[in-house]
């Protein structure tokens, strides 16, 4: 059980700067998700916490102690990787016992057996215990890998895209199980993913990384409703937030596309200035009396909802509507948006002007 803090971390690989002046605080017992694209520095951050990398500058604080120069063993963390990293040519039991059998641990054979059996039961892999790891399926391997992490009861669990290599169904099942495991163990989890659905559904808190910088930290709903900038805005939500350029005139947004005027409940950025307006697809509403019109470019039917792609003279925006809505491709529809949901971004810096 531990608090983790990263202070002013910079990490370079040759001439390439992976992390730039990163500050991060993760509280004890939190399920913290690092979200970012490939190369954003998520895995590097995780490896720094694990002690597999040493930062060029900055500090790693574990439970108030400066752990920057501690090695991985001293930090007492567990790491679950996307490629499972099971020890080959051993049985599942051999793998689960491995962390308990090293020199720093003094467990009796009975203790080891008891712990391994309990973990196997938690993860429902008891029947696999005597099997060689080479003969397991992907999902089973990942369970064993998670089991190997929890058997030692470390301070922190670090997970590097553990579900990415699994198929969709299994991913959903394990996602729920991991969440349950977190609440049972009450330990600190740091979970790295590029999948925003995973981030939103699992995290107590999300940290959004972009090119080595931590852009925003917040609860999933904060990140979703009050993104700090357009990058975060487009990182979460499916389909991503619509960004439409226009000019703010009083309480009205005048869009470049189609010159439509739509109301804005809380305008920011100054009258007459160019603004990038952000609106989530579910806040775009089809309305026969709406002020704007567009051609239906594409329809994706997801069963419960339909995702429409609307085309205004070449500018596309998404709208999520109920599956019952009757629309056809190439229909012209009128629409509006929910004025209280509109966000105003600075068109050059991408900053959310509503957050001061």
């Amino acid at each position: 059980m531990a608090d983790i803090a990263l202070q002013g971390i910079t990490k370079k690989f040759g001439s390439n700067t992976a992390l730039r002046d990163l500050d991060l605080e993760i509280k004890d017992g939190e399920f913290f998700v690092l979200l970012g694209q490939t190369g954003a520095g998520k895995t590097t951050t995780l490896r720094l916490i694990a002690g597999l990398e040493v930062p060029n500058s900055g500090k790693v604080i574990l439970d108030g102690h400066d752990a920057t120069n501690w090695n991985a063993a001293e930090r007492d963390v567990a790491l679950v990787l996307q490629q499972y990293s099971l020890y080959p040519r051993m049985t599942v039991r051999g793998n689960l016992e491995f962390p308990l059998k090293s020199r720093t641990q003094n467990f009796t054979a009975a203790e080891i057996k008891e712990r391994v059996d309990r973990v196997a039961e938690t993860l429902q892999i008891t029947r696999l215990l005597d099997r060689k790891v080479e003969r397991l399926s992907g999902g089973e391997m990942q369970r064993v890998s998670i089991g190997r992490a929890i058997v030692r009861q470390p301070r922190v669990f670090l997970m590097d895209e553990p579900l990415s290599a699994l198929d969709a169904n299994l991913r959903d099942v394990l996602r729920v199980e991991l969440k349950k495991l977190h609440s049972e163990l009450g330990a600190t989890f740091v979970f790295v993913t590029h999948d925003q659905v995973e981030a939103m559904s699992m995290g107590d808190k999300i940290g959004v990384l972009n090119r080595g910088r931590l852009v925003q930290v917040g609860t999933p709903s904060e990140i979703y409703a009050r993104p700090l900038n357009t990058f975060v805005a487009r990182s979460v939500g499916t389909p991503p937030m619509n960004l439409l350029d226009g000019v703010l005139k009083g309480n009205m947004a005048v869009l470049d596309a189609g010159k439509f005027s739509l109301p804005v409940a809380s305008p920011h950025g100054g009258d007459g200035n160019r603004i990038r307006f952000g609106i989530r697809p579910e806040d775009v509403v089809l309305d026969d009396n709406g002020p704007a019109s567009a051609r239906v470019f594409d329809i994706e039917n997801h069963g419960v909802i339909k995702i429409l792609t609307l085309d205004i003279d070449g500018t596309h925006l998404h709208a999520t509507v109920s599956a019952q809505t009757q629309v056809h491709i190439d229909d012209t529809v009128r629409f509006s948006w929910k004025p209280e949901k509109v966000l105003c971004f600075d068109p050059s810096s991408g900053r959310n002007l509503g957050l001061g």
């Binding site: 597999l52 991985a72 063993a73 020890y87 491995f98 190997r148």
Partner: protein, 301 residues
């Protein structure tokens, strides 16, 4: 059936234009090799098998008499031959163990990012590429009690490496280790670099000690390829002739290959030496088989 397995000749190719069929081309490639194998390998093998049951001597015109298993019986009851075998066994053991320890150790040292790694590896591989006879000759100079550089550096004065009957075999084994440890190193290096790095990281995270990691992760993964190196080196060491022949002529260094050579080409006991060669062949095949069985077991684990 066989013609279905083969790919068909492109009808527009030059070979087709010359009226060659697929089958003809296949035969053109295969028949010379098979002929070569039959003439130089299979035929002598069978011919010497036949000789091994006779008292034939290649140095005389006397006709060969069939003596049945007499040659084999004589050889296997000859205490001097058994002495040769035990010398060879000792030599194989020392030399292969040495090569594995030195070679694997070098591989462990090289299996990390160090400057000029490629150059160091290449330099270490050089001994392996030299001719056995040349290696034997210059090690003879290195070992020389009067002006040899080894005694000079070790401060051993006039220590006689090759003339001392108790030391000569070790001296030869050292040369063999020097020459062939790089071979073991090369194979071990291939095995070591195939061990995924993330396994070591996982073990580090799991707080395993270096020794524990080595025996539980590194060694099991490198074992199959190391076994292959050991098989090759055992077979070679068993057959060692040139190195020992050039370096020393002590009775304590008379390996079976040397004994065999003397029997065949100095004493001209052609029939007897054929039988001897067969005994050696059977032993090498047997030892190799044991290794291969073990190798398969290691792989299956």
């Amino acid at each position: 059936m066989a013609s279905q397995v083969m790919t068909n000749l492109d009808p527009k190719s030059r070979a087709a234009a010359k009226g060659l069929s697929d089958l003809t081309i296949r035969n053109l490639f295969i028949i010379p090799t098979i002929a070569f194998l039959i003439i130089f390998n299979i035929f002598p093998l069978l011919y010497s098998l036949a000789y091994s049951f006779t008292d034939f001597r290649a140095s005389t015109n006397a006709p060969a008499n069939f003596v049945g298993l007499q040659n084999y019986r004589d050889l296997l009851s000859d205490p001097f031959i058994w002495k040769n075998f035990s010398i060879t066994a000792k030599y194989v053991l020392i030399s292969v163990t040495g090569q594995v320890l030195v070679g694997f150790g070098l591989a462990m040292l090289l299996n990390r990012s160090i400057p000029a790694k490629g150059l160091i590896t290449t330099l270490l591989l050089l001994p392996m590429m030299l001719s056995m006879a040349v290696v034997g000759l210059f090690w003879k100079l290195l070992y020389d009690p009067n002006f040899g550089i080894i005694n000079y550096f070790l401060g051993l004065d006039k220590f006689e490496w090759l003339a001392d009957p108790d030391v000569a075999l070790y001296a030869i084994a050292i040369v063999d280790i020097w020459m062939w440890a790089p071979f073991v190193m090369l194979l071990s290096l291939a095995g070591l670099s195939a061990v995924p790095k993330h396994l070591y990281e996982a073990a580090e995270i799991d707080r395993a000690s270096g020794i524990y990691t080595f025996f539980r992760i590194t060694l099991p993964l490198v074992a199959p390829i190391l076994m292959i190196a050991i098989i090759f080196r055992t077979m070679e060491a068993f057959k060692t002739f040139d190195l020992a022949y050039v370096l020393s002529s002590q009775p304590t260094t008379e390996l079976i290959a040397i004994r065999l050579y003397k029997m065949a080409f100095q004493e001209w006991q052609t029939g007897m030496s054929s039988a001897f060669a067969y005994i050696v062949l059977i032993m090498v095949v047997a030892i190799t088989n044991i290794y291969v069985k073990y190798l398969n077991k290691v792989k299956a684990r």
